[in-house]
């Protein structure tokens, strides 16, 4: 049907035009990190050592309305005894101007490897978490946060 096709293509054109203008408005005005920058930071800390999935509960909202204040909690499975505990936990955001968010250092005194804080997110992006155990093993976890209003002031 010719008329139907024309309608579809006009709708498609409108969609494209809208997407393009939205892209212009939302285009970030600062250089952002990417997954490679995060990988570089992890390399700086641990070299080529591989991290396996698991043990970490990374608690972030799926949708953050305000990128300026995004709660983030981590909880790593561990007995937290003197010879088996979580040494450090690092969190990275691959879509922020700088990839590092925080590094927590735990001790057996903590009782459990759990902590929370709040972070800024410039845009929708992946959050990567790396945990280092006292014996040197690494674990990782990943989560995506959709950000409605970016938190970089622009």
């Amino acid at each position: 049907m010719a008329s139907g096709d024309r309608f579809c293509s006009r709708r498609r054109a409108l969609q494209l035009a809208f997407a393009a203008s939205a892209g212009l408005i939302l285009a970030p005005r600062f250089a952002l990190a990417d997954a490679n920058a995060v990988a570089d930071e992890i390399k700086k800390l641990y070299g080529d050592k591989k991290a396996t999935d698991g043990k970490i509960k990374l608690d972030v909202p799926q949708i953050a309305e305000n990128g300026l204040v995004v709660p983030v909690s981590i909880d790593v499975e561990s007995p937290m005894s003197a010879d088996d505990y979580v040494k450090a936990v690092h969190v990275f955001a691959d879509g922020n101007p700088l990839p590092q968010v925080f590094s927590f250092r735990f001790t057996p005194e903590c009782g459990k490897a759990s902590a929370s804080t709040r972070m800024r997110l410039a845009q929708t992006q992946n959050i990567l978490c790396i945990a280092e155990m006292s014996n040197g093993t690494l674990y990782s976890a990943k989560a995506e946060v959709k950000v409605t209003i970016g938190g970089c002031g622009g």
Binding site: L68, V69, T107, C110, G111, T117, R118, R120
Partner: protein
Amino acid sequence: MATTSVPRVRVPAQAKAGDIIEIKTLISHDMESGQRKAADGKTIPRQIINKFSATFNGKTVFEADWYTSISANPYQSFFYKVKETGEFKFVWKDDNGSEYTAASKLTVA
């Protein structure tokens, strides 16, 4: 900073030995990221709190390195396994070299 940073800490006053208690801290600070520009186009220099640490009776319990992605008025919570009566000391280190401190007592019932 327009105002001085004021730390606030919540620690249970009493606990039993072996309990795992949650400690919540909050400090007022702009956490200026160094990414923002002032009206004249100049970048506002970075000034954040880059380190938080908690000790109990002089022994390190928990430390956090904060980067520019941490929100203004940074909140931090963590846990502690109660052993004995004593005092927590909390220290926040600012980029400008100053330190903000807080302390609170814990009594083992």
